[in-house]
Amino acid sequence: MMSTLLDVQNLWVRFPTRNGVFDAVRGVSFTLGRERLGIVGESGSGKSMTGRAILRLIRSPGIVEADQISLEGQDLMKLSEKDMRAVRGQRISMVMQDPKFSLNPVMTIGDQIIEAYRLHNSASKADAYNKSLEMLEAVSIRDAERVMRAYPHEMSGGMGQRIMIAMMLIPNPEILIADEPTSALDVSVQRQVLDIMDKLVKERGMGLIFISHDLNLVADFCDRVLIMYSGRIVEVCDADKLHEAKHPYTRGLLNSLPRLDAPRERLEVLERDPQWSEAPSVSGSE
C-alpha cells in the first residue's frame, strides 16, 4: 500500500440558511496517497466544496466539520488559523478554475510569482527571480522573461492557467488540489496543461486531487476516481475501469455523453432516483 498523505474522515460542509441548514458535503471519507485522485460530479454535487474544505477555505457562515482531516498525521481541523496559513500554499496548493479571476490584474506576473515564492522561502530577490523563471520554463512557457514583465490580461487562457500552476508549484507542496483546472481551456490546450501537471506530479511525487465534471478526462488522467452525488460519494473505482462503473448514476452520466464512435438518434436522459442521495457515503479510503 502507498503511504497516505491525506486522510479525510466524515467531512461535512454546512451552510445555515433561512430555511434551515443546507448540507453541501455530507459525511465524505477518503484517503490520498502519492497518486492522482479524481473527484467527479455535476454542479452542486459538493466536489468543489470538498476541495476547499480540506484547506478550510469555506467562507463564513459556512461550517466545516470532520472527524479528522490529517495531513501526514497532523490534524488540520485542530490547527489555528495562523498555523493553517503555513499549510496553504506551502504544503497543500490549489489551482482554481479560471485564471482570469485568480491572478491579480494590476501586478505583473513576475511580481506575483516572486511574491508567492518569497512568502514561503527566505530568498533574495535575485534568487526568487531566477527560481520563478525556472518554474515558468518548467510549465513550458517560451520566452519566460517577457512573460515575467507582462500583466495577466496580456496572456491567453492556456498561458494564464500554466502560470497559475507554476505559482502553485513553486513552494513545492506535497498535495495539489486542482479544481476544474482545464474547463476554461480549449481541447488542444487542455492536453498540454494536463501533460505538464502530470509530469510535475510524477517528478515530485506529489498527491493530486483533480476535481472535474468531465468523466472522460478523469478516466484518462487519474488513477482513482470518486463519484459524488448530492454531497456524498456514491461510487469509488479505478480510473481505467470507470467505463465499467456499476452505480446507476455513473452509468447515467456516461450514457448521456454524445460519442463520435457510437452515434445514436437520441441521447439517454438521466433518471434520478431519490434513493441515491439517501444511501450512505461510500468510503474512498485505500
Binding site: E42, S43, S188, L215, L260
Partner: protein, 246 residues
Amino acid sequence: MNMLEVAGLNVWFGKNRDRVDAVKGATFDVGQGESFGLVGESGSGKSTILRAITGLAPNWSGTMTLGGKPIGKKRPKEFFKTVQMVFQDPYASLHPRHSVDQVLGETLHLHGFKDIDARVVKLLDDVGLGQKFRFRYPHQLSGGQRQRVAIARALAPEPELLLLDEPTSALDVSVQAEILNLLADLRNDRGLTYLMVSHDLSVVGHMCDRLAVMKDGEIVEILDVVALRAMDATHAYSRQLLEASL
C-alpha cells in the same frame, strides 16, 4: 435550395493599427433543413460568423444570402422572423428582473402576434417546461431550464433558421443530453435549419450533418459527419482537433 449561403465573408473589429480580422474569406452554405456545425478553438471566429449573420458585428464584407435573398447592411423585420439565435450562457442572456412570461410575451409582442397568451402557453409546452414555470424569474430556474426559456424565446417568431452559439457548454452532461434531445425533436417537428457553433466535436458529431473546421478566422476544411466519425479529416489541424477530442 440553400437556406443560407455565405461567400467570401470577412469580419473585422477596430481600425488601422488595432484592426483585428476575426473572420477571413469564410465560404459555406447550409441547406434547407440541414444542421451545420462550426468548430474550432476559442478565438477562431466561429461565433463571430453567427454575429455577422444576425447583424451584431457591423463591420463585414462579402455576400450572405438567406433563402435566396441577399442580406444587406440593414436587416428588414422579416429577417428576424426567419433567423433567431440562442446564446451560450443562459445565466447572462435572460433579463434577471423579467419573468418568463414577460420574456416570451415581449418577444411575441415585438413580432406583432395578437394571441400572446395562448402562444406563451404553447411555447412553454413545446420546450418541455409547462405552465408552472410561466411566472418564474431566471434566478428561480436551473441552468437547463433557463436554456429552455432561451430556446422558447428564439422559437417565438416561428423562425426557419436557428443560430446556436454553444447552447450546452455551460451545462452539465446530463442536462446537455436533455437540451440536445429537445433541439433534435424541435428540428424534426418543425423542419428547422440549424447553424451550430461548438468547441465540442462529439456534440457537433451528434447534432450536425456537416461541419466546418475553423482556425485563426479561416475555414480550413468542410467535412460531413460520416468522414468525421471515420476520423477521415484531410487537413492537419482538423486531425489534431479530432485526436484531442477522443
